[in-house]
């Protein structure tokens, strides 16, 4: 213990002697880890956001598929489904996409029939009549209006429709509501000129949670042109979606890691004559091979541990304090209305562990042989100058 502490002391002083070289190594190493860490943190936080808040999403959504495409569903299906045992209620949903050529963005128009009570995350109120609407923060920013102003959209008949804005969703809900325009159901039908007998899809409430899968099968059996989507599947999709994404990012980043290892290898193998002389002196005045190996081990540990912790800290600050500015363009793609989100810090220890494993193990493995090569320098070497 005492011996290791002394050897650590020597290691630190020898690292400090080559401080520019080692600092640059730590910087590159920490940067690699911060990049990987940011990806993991961001995807995990998004995953938690999705799987956490979508637990109250509709238990079962039934779409109609016609000629392989999603089609409007006849409201008559409601009766067929509600007759199935175990179904609590079936509600037709009316919603659709709207492309605004002015701001060149896609909006999601949602029709609600009636909702009593206030929404905590809504500033103002939901629309009471056909001339009113509530909008997401992203829409508000794109169009520039505030509560009380008018939102002008072009309906399918090429005529201007004016909605009075009665509510804007709070920024906290951006990840869910950024591009929403909430209208009354009748107003939405009117806007899209949608038949009264049709709806976008049906939402099915179920008495017993365990029955959802069976019910989905029954609906599919009774109405073969439908496609039921369960809430579990939605959550599962989000779960795997972000796992896959972070896995892929890691796979790409392995390339970066490998090149870093080559750098480390190069650094460790390219022992300068000066360093070899130094190790020779140590051996000559009575250091054992194991002591020199311990120096090298500590060198690797100090560098990788410091870089790892700094990298993780940087990643945390990058993602949770600044909202991942370096990664957002990647996610954003061609979205015009990209939500400005403030992520709730959510970290999976497992991922941090994996990250540590993926970065520290290859580094240490790279340095074993070079450090042994240094450690077995003959003490006699120094006498031959």
């Amino acid at each position: 213990m005492l011996r290791q502490l002394k050897i650590l002391e020597f290691t630190l002083s020898s690292l400090l002697r080559r401080k520019y070289k080692n600092l640059s190594l730590i910087t590159v190493y920490a940067f690699t880890i911060a990049t990987l860490g940011s990806v993991l943190f961001l995807t995990h936080a998004l995953k938690m956001e999705a799987t956490g808040s979508l637990t109250t999403a509709p238990e079962l959504v039934v779409q109609r598929v016609a000629a392989g495409r999603h089609d409007l569903i006849p409201t008559a299906y409601t009766e067929v489904i509600s007759k199935l045992p175990g179904v609590a209620s079936v509600t037709p949903r009316v919603w659709g996409y709207y492309y605004d050529s002015l701001i060149k963005a896609n909006l999601t128009l949602v029709g609600i029939s009636s909702y009593q009570g206030d929404l905590e995350l809504l500033e103002g109120r939901l629309p009471d009549n056909a001339e009113e609407c509530a909008i997401g923060r992203g829409v508000a920013i794109a169009f520039g209006p505030a509560i009380g102003d008018d939102l002008v959209l072009e309906d399918s008949g090429k005529s201007r429709t004016v909605f009075k804005i009665t509510g804007i969703f709070r920024a906290e809900s951006n990840l869910l509501t950024n591009d929403l325009v909430v209208l009354q159901e009748a107003a939405l039908r009117d806007f899209f000129s949608m038949d009264q007998k049709l709806a976008t899809d049906l939402v099915v409430q179920v008495h017993n949670q365990r029955e959802i899968k069976t019910l989905a099968k029954k609906i599919k059996y009774n109405l073969p042109d439908t496609r039921p989507i369960t809430r579990d599947e939605i959550l599962h999709t989000y779960d795997t979606l972000f796992n896959w994404r972070s896995g892929m990012m890691l796979a790409v980043a392995v390339a970066a890691l490998i090149s870093f290892c080559i750098l480390a290898w190069d650094k460790a193998t390219g022992i300068s004559a000066e360093e070899k002389q130094e190790i020779g002196v140590l051996k000559a005045i009575g250091w054992e091979t194991s002591d020199v190996l311990a120096v090298k081990f500590w060198e690797g540990t100090v560098i990788s541990l410091t870089s790892f912790v700094l990298g993780i800290l940087a990643a945390w600050i990058h993602v949770f304090a600044f909202g991942a500015p370096a990664l957002v363009p990647l996610l954003k793609g061609w979205s015009v209305l990209f939500p400005e989100f403030q992520l709730t810090p959510a970290v999976d220890f497992y991922q941090v562990f994996v990250l540590g494993f993926l970065t520290i193990v290859p580094y240490l493995a790279c340095t074993v042989i070079p450090s042994w090569k240094t450690a077995v320098t003959e003490p006699e070497y120094v006498m031959r100058g």
């Binding site: 896609n106 700094l310 810090p345 970290v347």
Partner: protein
């Protein structure tokens, strides 16, 4: 004070900070009740993370022909598609029953 002690203190402080941050963010129970209320009221099924096309806006509601359901990956036009998996595993896929396992739901 020796360099060793200084370094050990330095790394201990860093580790302490990091684990502190990680622990507060891994166990800190996030209050999602407001968001859940919103989701319930509007019947939201997806995040509004990417709105460039309808199959990226609602990955779980997308058409069967669109990128998410086609596998192996169809040619994709939108950058989001390149980082979101086609046909997420377990999404409407076949269910195989393992013989020696117990119940089937």
């Amino acid at each position: 004070m020796t360099r060793g002690t200084i370094y050990l203190i330095f790394i201990a402080v860093l580790l302490f900070m990091t684990t502190g941050l990680l622990i507060t963010s891994s166990t800190g129970i996030i209050d999602l009740t407001e968001k859940r209320q919103l989701v319930q009221a509007l019947g939201i099924t997806d995040l509004s993370l990417s709105s460039e096309a309808r199959y990226t806006r609602h990955p779980s509601q997308a058409d069967l022909f669109s990128a998410f359901q086609d596998f192996p990956a169809a040619f994709e036009h939108f950058p989001t598609g390149s980082i979101i998996a086609p046909n997420p595993v377990g999404f409407f896929s076949r269910v195989k029953i393992q013989h020696h396992s117990g119940k089937q739901n």
